[in-house]
């Protein structure tokens, strides 16, 4: 920064920060240094309190009340009605027999999605990390390339792929070049589902690759040298040495990946809108639709679904805490 600009910036900074000086000194004198520290924590705590902790409590209120009113005071207490409505099904495996079929579509779709996406993503992240761990020229560049999509807005991600996948898009151009028929990739249920898995992997695997790569690089080189001295064949080295030592990072990646996958919404919603039909409608979309997009907003149901989702996430987070503590 040029000297003049730097000094001007410094002076503005000093001027702005000097504003609360007098009241802060007064507060410090009144409260003593120890209690004064609370003033520093207060703004952060306030935001957390209002926008994170309070909402959880209100979630419970919504979940146990009914009606379209927004203000909790106006709502009627309905007890477990919301939960019961969500969970009532003739056959749990067939969403069409459920009162809230979209909810159960969401549940099963999300389950399929999570298993497929997390499994494949970890596999590819692991392979990429292993390849990057070798002495490659331009490793920094390659690592950055895999990481780039992580930085993109989900809307951008969705539009990029929507553009590629559309009827007259470049993918179909390649397909016709090869002699096959062009496909409406996002208009077929199974195909659309597969593409949401792919796009989600594309957009996020870089992050997990980084973590796994760091975990691999933390394994000291002499362990491998010792294994070589012990004439250990490569597959054995991988299974008995690399994999166990990488386990902490793998666990982190697994749980973080699961937590994120269970909450999938943004890029899918823009890519397919949940369709065709409900083929790519996932849980969070159900919450969004019920609570904000429907003609009649059903806050109670949305909140009840949120609580169910929260339970799953809580379990996953606790598993992660236990797992990472155990390996330390």
């Amino acid at each position: 920064m040029s000297g003049v600009a730097a000094r001007a910036a410094e002076r503005t900074y000093a001027a702005v920060m000097n504003v609360p000086e007098r009241p802060m000194r007064w507060a410090q004198a009144r409260m003593g240094t120890g209690r004064f520290a609370w003033l520093f924590v207060a703004p952060n705590l306030a935001i957390f309190g209002i926008f994170t902790f309070l909402p959880i409590a209100i979630d419970f209120i919504y979940a146990f009340t009914g009606g379209p009113e927004l203000m909790p005071a106006d709502r009627a207490f309905t007890g477990l009605a919301n939960l019961r409505e969500l969970l009532s099904c003739g056959n749990y495996l067939n969403p069409n027999t459920c009162t809230r079929d979209i909810f159960w579509d969401g549940v099963w779709n999300t389950l399929r999605f999570v298993v497929l996406q997390v499994g494949l993503m970890i596999l590819f992240s692991l392979i990429t990390a292993l390849v990057l761990n070798r002495k490659v020229i331009g490793r920094g560049f390659f690592r950055a390339a895999f990481f780039y999509p992580v930085l993109l807005s989900p809307v951008v991600v969705a539009l990029i792929w929507k553009w590629i996948l559309q009827r007259y898009g470049v993918l179909n151009a390649v397909v016709t070049d090869v002699g096959l028929h062009p496909v409406d990739w996002l208009l077929n249920g199974t195909s659309a589902f597969s593409w949401t898995v792919f796009v989600s992997i594309w957009a996020h695997m870089g992050f997990y690759t980084l973590i796994l790569l760091a975990g691999l690089q933390a394994i000291p080189a002499d362990i491998y040298e010792a294994a070589a001295m012990d004439a250990a064949p490569p597959w054995r080295t991988f299974r008995r040495i690399t994999l166990p030592l990488l386990m902490p990072s793998l666990l982190v990646v697994l749980v973080l990946g699961l937590i994120r996958a269970v909450q999938i919404f943004d890029e899918v919603y823009v890519l397919t809108g949940g369709g065709p039909g409900t083929a790519t409608t996932y849980l969070v979309q159900f919450i969004y639709q019920t609570g904000f997009a429907a003609q009649v907003r059903e806050y109670g149901l949305a909140a009840a679904a949120s609580l169910l989702l929260a339970t799953v996430l809580l379990v996953l987070t606790l598993v992660q805490l236990r797992a990472t503590r155990g390996t330390r």
């Binding site: 900074y13 802060m24 410090q28 120890g34 520290a37 520093f40 924590v41 952060n44 957390f48 926008f51 994170t52 902790f53 909402p55 979630d59 927004l70 392979i127 292993l130 390849v131 990057l132 002495k135 490659v136 920094g140 560049f141 390659f142 690592r143 390339a145 780039y148 999509p149 930085l151 993109l152 989900p154 809307v155 951008v156 539009l159 990029i160 929507k162 553009w163 590629i164 007259y168 470049v170 151009a173 016709t176 594309w202 870089g206 992050f207 980084l210 973590i211 491998y224 064949p233 490569p234 597959w235 982190v252 943004d266 823009v270 919450i287 969004y288 909140a303 949120s306 609580l307 809580l314």
Partner: protein, 350 residues
Amino acid sequence: MTTAAQLLTARRGRFRADWTDWVSYAYLILGVIVMFGPVLWLFASSFKSEAGLNQFPPTLLPWQPAQVQIAGQPAPLPLFHVLTGPHAGEDLAEVRRIGLMAQLLDPKSPNQVIRLRTNTIKPAMQMRAAWDNYTGLFSKFNFLRYLFNSVFITVVATLITLLINSMAAFALSKYRFRGRDGVFLLMIATLMIPPTIILVPNFLIASALGLVNSLWGVILPGVATPTGVFLLRQYMLTLPDDLIEAARMDNASEWRIYWRIVLPLSAPALAVLAIFSVMWRWNEFLWPLIVLTRNEHFTLPLALYSFQGELTTSWNYILSMTIITLLPVTIIFILLQRRITQGIASAGVK
């Protein structure tokens, strides 16, 4: 040894090129193509005019059907290249088409109408970068407004985040007060509460506070990031306590110690948090979707989303808007990717 497992366990390359090295590089290059390719394709496509975009199969470079304005004609006419016959090799403007016959004019002598069969002509292509895809954003849409909204939210939210997160981190790292550890744990606990499960109540609270449909409604709920507090606290713990004691001896108020000593010395950590915050805020989608209901308050991602629902055929503007939306993040990425990837890698190991 040439088993597949060698690929997985090798840590060092060999001096002579192994087949595993070839496979590795092939994989990496494929990866680069798959990761960068789609964005580059979007970029290339954004320079094609509407007509050019309608071409199938699509070309890499912005070719589009050429047009020519002929005196006496009300509008520019599409130019066609003649393939066979007496006019082979010429470029003629098509006035109208009836059945299988086309009526064409020679731009050089436009008085005479030439009739040719449509299967003897094909559109003439010219390469032209359709800059008006970008400039049109400003004239045709409220683009400047969306851009302003996104920039406003990103800058203000980042500034507030830096301020209150560093204040909290300072208190948690340099002071001893009752309940300190409890507060810290509480803040970390919020990491476990993803925003998706508190959407409805947050909407209520935002309504109650009059924040719905306001940019502040997007800014405020997310300024207290637990990651930010954690990061800054870790860094501030490494600052020597003597400095703070010396400043106390120097009659500095605690507030002054904070902004004249601790903040400047925490610059590296603040920079990392600033980068993260800019990225999170610029890319935010779900919460702004809920809070902002009026068009003039939309951020770029929201505007993009609503456009692609309405303008299913005007991809040219959607493409250019998408490119502009991803530009700031891309620039940050190019300049600072090493710092970002290192920051995440080290945090992940912890």
